[in-house]
């Protein structure tokens, strides 16, 4: 198919420009605006996911050695859920929102009409390459846009599978996949888009936003950060530990934007926590985690080197209290816990994005809030506690994209909550209706009649009109009525 051939050769600036033009022409026909088109495309995504779950699992195994359950759950099932919700709610989402008008514009009626932005670009990452490619695309389609998807080249099997499946299942005149690396992404970023959605790191996020600035293109940036977990004492330690482990190592072996990055707990409680973690880790992954089939590998040798370097740093390696094993040939690193690595070490300053979990101890659990707020705002912040006051304090004072009490990562499954960052962790949000909104323009529409014109609006201006103007805007009903009926002639 023409679409596939184009992407195989590699897209340069000319090809990118032609692609955008083609999609713009397609968008201009009005095809994407119809409810029927949008629903049919969404249903195609559902069918694609259902028919090819096995292929997706295989591709993810190839790209990340991702355990089958994680693939089925955190990629395919979540994608299908997102799609079903959109199919179910789309009619509702498309309905204009009627709004109240006030006496200042009487008589009038007003509404907010959602409309597609036009032709949008979705750039997705390698860690959840299936979900994070198609989930934003669902939002873009639901909102009635034409879409170009650029999947990550770091997960090539999934990228190639997406190109094939989108080519087969979707309307290629309006939805396309462009494969490739930095060169292709750069070529795409030079074009004028109506919105760009980028999921990835802050360094590239800046590049994307700067490229978007040239065309005044709005952006949705889903970035990352160091998502902290504060662990209080007096909690159900077993449950807390399991949830931390599930969110860290049970999600792509720590390579998740909202994975617990590091733990903050009191000096007194730390030993208990470390023991509990060790105990549950063995439960989950066995005595030799490097052999466990339930752990993703590190995605490639670059990241493997990056992570082992974090451990090798001088004053850091001595703080390892569990794990620390790695196998270069299989790109595996075992769940590793560190206790009080130096605050200025790399591992305590960069987003880890891997199976290493530093624990930082503090005197009082409240001290951890200041530590968190002294860093850049993360995508997620977690607190395990039974203390109501501490919960309230945490929610009010810790700023992050999202906050979860007594669990980790789960908020991503709740479609009623917006998923996005703040400051370094990103801008904008999606999931559920927020996806539809992210790819829409909310057009304000005001309907007026020809009657009901306050002469005070128009020149020649006089002191009398000023008086009336004040009454009209000031809102005094009686004087406004006078003004409306032009009862004070000048």
């Amino acid at each position: 198919m023409a679409a596939m051939e184009e992407t195989k050769v590699g897209v340069d600036a000319d090809a990118a420009s032609r692609l955008v033009k083609e999609l713009r022409d397609g968008f201009a026909t009005g095809k994407t605006r119809s409810y029927q088109w949008r629903v049919s495309q969404l249903k195609s995504i559902l069918k694609m996911a259902e028919d090819h779950e096995h292929d997706v699992v295989e591709a993810l195994r190839s790209d990340l050695s991702k355990p089958e359950l994680e693939s089925c759950l955190y990629e395919v099932a979540m994608l299908k859920n997102s799609c079903s919700l959109a199919v179910k709610k789309l009619k509702q989402w498309m309905v204009p929102e009627k709004v109240k008008t006030s006496i200042t514009t009487f008589p009038s009626s007003a509404e907010i009409v959602p409309e597609p932005l036009g032709v949008v670009l979705v750039i997705s990452p390698w860690n959840y390459p299936f979900l994070l490619s198609l989930d934003p695309v669902i939002g873009a389609i639901a909102a009635g846009n034409a879409v170009v998807l650029k999947p990550s080249e770091v997960s090539p099997a999934t990228s190639s599978l997406l190109a094939k499946l989108v080519g087969e299942y979707m309307d290629n005149s309006l939805i396309r996949v462009v494969e490739g690396g930095v060169a292709e992404t750069t070529a795409l970023l030079e074009q004028k888009w109506d919105k760009i959605c980028y999921t990835g790191n802050g360094r590239v996020g800046r590049i994307v936003m700067a490229a978007a600035a040239k065309h005044l293109t709005p952006v949705l940036l889903e970035l990352g950060g160091k998502s902290p977990v504060v662990v209080d004492s007096g909690i159900n330690l077993q449950v807390a530990t399991r949830r931390i482990i599930a969110g860290k190592w049970g999600c792509n072996n720590g390579q998740t934007c909202v994975a617990p990055d590091y733990i903050l707990t009191t000096k007194d409680f730390a030993p208990k926590l470390v023991d509990a973690l060790k105990h549950e880790l063995e439960h989950f992954f066995g005595e030799n985690p490097l052999d466990s089939k339930d752990l993703s590998r590190i995605v490639n040798s670059n990241h493997f080197a990056r992570l082992t370097k974090l451990l090798d740093e001088d004053r850091v390696s001595g703080t390892i209290v569990h794990g620390g094993k790695s196998e270069k040939s299989t790109l595996k690193i075992s769940p590793t816990i560190l206790l009080d690595a130096p605050r200025d070490s790399l591992i305590m300053n960069e987003e880890i994005f891997g199976p290493l979990l530093p624990i930082l101890t503090v005197e009082k659990v409240e001290d951890s809030f200041d530590i968190i707020n002294s860093g850049t705002k993360p995508l997620a912040a977690y607190l395990f506690t039974s203390n109501k006051k501490l919960k309230e304090q945490f929610v009010m004072t810790v700023s992050a994209g999202g906050v979860v009490i007594n669990d980790t990562v789960l908020h991503l499954s709740v479609a009623g909550l917006p998923f996005g960052g703040v400051q370094e962790s990103g801008m904008g949000a999606y999931h559920g209706k927020f996806s539809f909104d992210a790819f829409s323009h909310k057009k304000a529409v005001l309907y007026r009649s020809f009657a009901g014109d306050a002469p005070v609006r128009y020149p020649p201006y006089t002191k009398g009109k000023l008086r009336l103007m004040k009454a009209l805007i000031g809102g005094s009903i009686l004087s406004a009525i006078f003004a409306l009926f032009g009862l004070s002639k000048d």
């Binding site: 759950l73 099932a77 008008t101 919960k391 801008m427 323009h441 529409v445 020149p459 002191k463 000023l466």
Partner: protein
């Protein structure tokens, strides 16, 4: 300029202390702003007259009144806006509480414009304060009397440790843009909008850009003559009645069917005479061009001989008084600068077409404007315009008045900008909506955890489908 660093450090310290987050602080600031306006109303009229020749009625309608309305609306609704919104949580996660909690972004930068130098500075400021932020307000040097007034007076009424005002030109603007902000709110031209966003990208600072464009007025045939008169009045009001055409949502050009052009031109002339008298230059109701630079820019638009030939009314100008007469042009060439660039002045091109539906193509051949105005009683045409064009807003049978509707978001799309404000949208644009999920330790869902097996896979599949019956059966061993 250590001044900026020092100010920023102080603002961050104030914000981190939590002071700006209290409802009391926010409301006090807004009340202080209302006091300022009420005490200094005459001074503001004088400053606006000095900078732009605005009459007090225009000044009140477009600037003072807007700020008063905004501040009052924010005061009345603040607690509602600050309250967390419940999010729907699936039964599977029971017991759990999910909500979206708005929080201030931190230290924000508001860059305002010169054409509505009071309201475009204070209206975003109201939003930033309502949302609990510390603010730097950078005023436009092109409106020096207003800039000087605000720079001197705001510190007398507002909390200086949380709200700071900067005067100056591009150099001050550039200096400010080098720093890291938690949000930048910009009103101005697309050209500068790009610079602002590029600077913001270095720090991943979110921006709201309120830009401009060529806002067209579509004038369909109106059989009722009083409707036609009302329509023309509204068009005249939106061109010359708002800062002499220097308004982002003013009418830029008119589209009308060829057979109505004479009627339209006659009505326009009559209305202009009614509003401004025989000699508009001596009318006190006519605002002035802001400065020599824009005066020359506008005069140059008329230099093109083909454009000059198309003038059917007005065309004179007085450089010393920065006055340009209300000018009407009939079908200047579509490629002339007057039809490709935003005019932002008292020149009104009329473009005629065969059928009114063609206006849609003409509008779509240009970048998306901030507003589209359409005067028509034809419901089909209304629907077509809504469905086939894109703009920040659309108003049927009137002009500019969407600005006064607090329930409507005010902002652009495409080249006219992104983001919005007014009413609750002002609060939202300066807030971060934080998702909060609260869970309890009990009950536990075992299948969440490794080691994985086929039972757990089945369980979680059913869970993801929210198939509670299936889950129950599985747990009871009754599902294969």
């Amino acid at each position: 300029m250590g001044e900026v660093e020092k100010s920023l450090a102080e603002l961050r310290k104030t914000f981190n202390s939590g002071r700006t987050r209290s409802v009391a602080w926010r409301k006090n600031q807004l009340r202080a702003l209302l006091d300022l306006i009420s005490h200094k109303e005459e001074v503001i009229f004088e400053a606006l007259h000095q900078d732009l020749g605005k009459h007090p009625v225009e000044a009140y309608r477009d600037e003072i009144g807007v700020v008063i309305k905004s501040a009052r609306f924010a005061l009345n609704n603040m607690e509602k806006w600050m309250a967390p919104k419940k999010g729907h949580i699936p039964l599977l996660f029971f017991p759990a509480k999910g909500e979206v909690l708005p929080e201030p972004l931190g230290v924000v930068l508001v860059l305002s414009s010169w054409n509505f130098p009071i309201s475009l500075a204070l209206d975003p400021l109201i939003g930033a304060i309502s949302a609990g932020n510390a603010v730097v307000l950078k005023l436009s040097e092109n409106a020096p009397a207003c800039s000087s007034f605000l720079a001197k007076t705001l510190p007398l009424y507002l909390d200086n440790s949380a709200i700071k005002v900067f005067e100056g030109g591009a150099d001050v603007g550039n200096e400010l843009l080098q720093h890291k902000w938690d949000k930048i709110f910009f009103t101005g031209s697309s050209r500068v909008g790009r610079l602002v966003m590029t600077a913001a990208a270095k720090h991943l600072t979110p921006v709201t850009l309120e830009l401009g464009g060529k806002c067209p007025a579509i004038l369909d045939s109106l059989s009722n003559p009083s409707d036609m008169k009302a329509a023309v009045k509204r068009i005249v009001g939106a061109k010359w009645g708002a800062c002499s055409g220097q308004a982002c949502i003013g009418v830029d050009y008119v589209l009308v069917e060829d057979n109505f052009k004479s009627t339209l031109i006659e009505l326009l002339k009559k209305t202009i005479k009614k509003f401004y008298g025989e000699n508009p230059k001596s009318s006190k109701s006519n605002a002035r061009i802001i400065n020599k630079h824009h005066f020359e820019r506008l005069r140059n638009l008329l230099e093109d001989p083909l454009v000059a030939d198309s003038i059917v009314h007005g065309g004179s100008s007085d450089e010393e008084n920065l006055f340009i007469e209300p000018t009407i042009l009939l079908n200047p060439p579509l490629e002339a600068e007057i039809m490709t660039e935003e005019i932002f002045g008292p020149l009104l091109p009329i473009i005629t077409i065969d059928k009114i539906q063609e206006s849609i193509d003409i509008i779509n051949s240009r970048s998306k404007p901030l507003a589209i105005y359409a005067f028509t009683k034809d419901e089909t045409l209304k629907r077509k315009i809504l469905a086939e064009t894109s703009s920040g807003s659309v108003v049927f049978n009137d002009t500019m008045i969407q600005f006064l509707c607090d329930a409507l978001p005010f902002g652009g799309v495409g080249q006219s900008g992104f983001g919005s404000y007014h009413g609750k949208y002002s609060f939202d644009t300066f807030s971060h909506e934080k998702a909060v999920l609260q869970r309890s330790f009990f009950p536990e869902i075992e299948p969440r955890y490794p080691p994985w097996n086929s039972f757990k896979l089945k369980f979680i599949r059913l869970a993801y489908n929210f198939d509670y019956l299936g889950l129950l059966l599985l747990l009871m061993g009754l599902k294969r």
